[in-house]
Symmetry: C2
Subunit: 133 residues, 2 copies
């Protein structure tokens, strides 16, 4: 009667097949990050969201929203009107992820100059090392 | 003498070509997330990091570390010993990103049950909707 046989292992994103790895991948996906961060500020209609997030295709946005909806992060509200109107917003669970992702998005914007400086210094060093060979 | 002509636009991750979008992509990349989160806990040698992060190939890990080093997030310390020993750790800038990414990783692990429940409910609803057609 070993109870431990039935136990689900403790979630660990470093284990390749752990479900938590998939969750982390969804909230940090290329478009998932931007969708969550946008929805933290307000709800959006599909077409508005597509305009807001530069470079996303209709297909990728639809797929991203569906993944986030299925995970329980995004609420899809289809109004029975003509023409059809669909609003997307965050669930409580989605807000938790979005707050952290939003922080990373703002941090990335704040740190542009620091990262550019780091790259110049890295490239210079590589060039000097190559020249001294 | 319009000063505004010379001005760099305010960073905005939603603009496709903004450098901040690239930074966000690097810190939220499939392996970048896991590398940053691991390095927040301690410094690692390459082979240790590869063992720690399930599923990463040698090539992808090397590429991820190089991108993070060039951005100024990771410090690479090659010891002049035989056999060669290389330690990776976070810079101060890298720590800022890693703290947020670490939070997301732990959140993903904590929320596995909630996300599983959301998926069951989503799939049930889709099945019911299909059956009622």
């Amino acid at each position: 009667m070993a109870v431990s046989d039935d136990r689900v292992p403790v979630p660990d994103v470093n284990r390749e097949m752990c479900p938590s790895r998939r969750i982390l991948e969804h909230v940090t996906s290329r478009w998932g990050v931007l969708v969550l961060a946008a929805l933290l500020e307000r709800s959006y209609r599909f077409s508005e969201l597509r305009r807001e997030i530069g470079g996303v295709s209709e297909k990728m946005l639809a797929q991203t929203l569906q993944t986030l909806e299925r995970d329980g992060f995004v609420d899809r509200d289809a109004k029975p009107v003509i023409p059809p109107r669909v609003d997307y917003s965050l669930t409580q669970l989605g807000k938790e992820a979005a707050e952290q992702v939003w922080g990373l998005a703002r941090w990335s914007e704040r740190r542009v100059a620091d990262v550019k400086a780091a790259r110049v210094s890295y490239d210079d060093e590589k060039a000097r090392a190559a020249a001294s060979l």
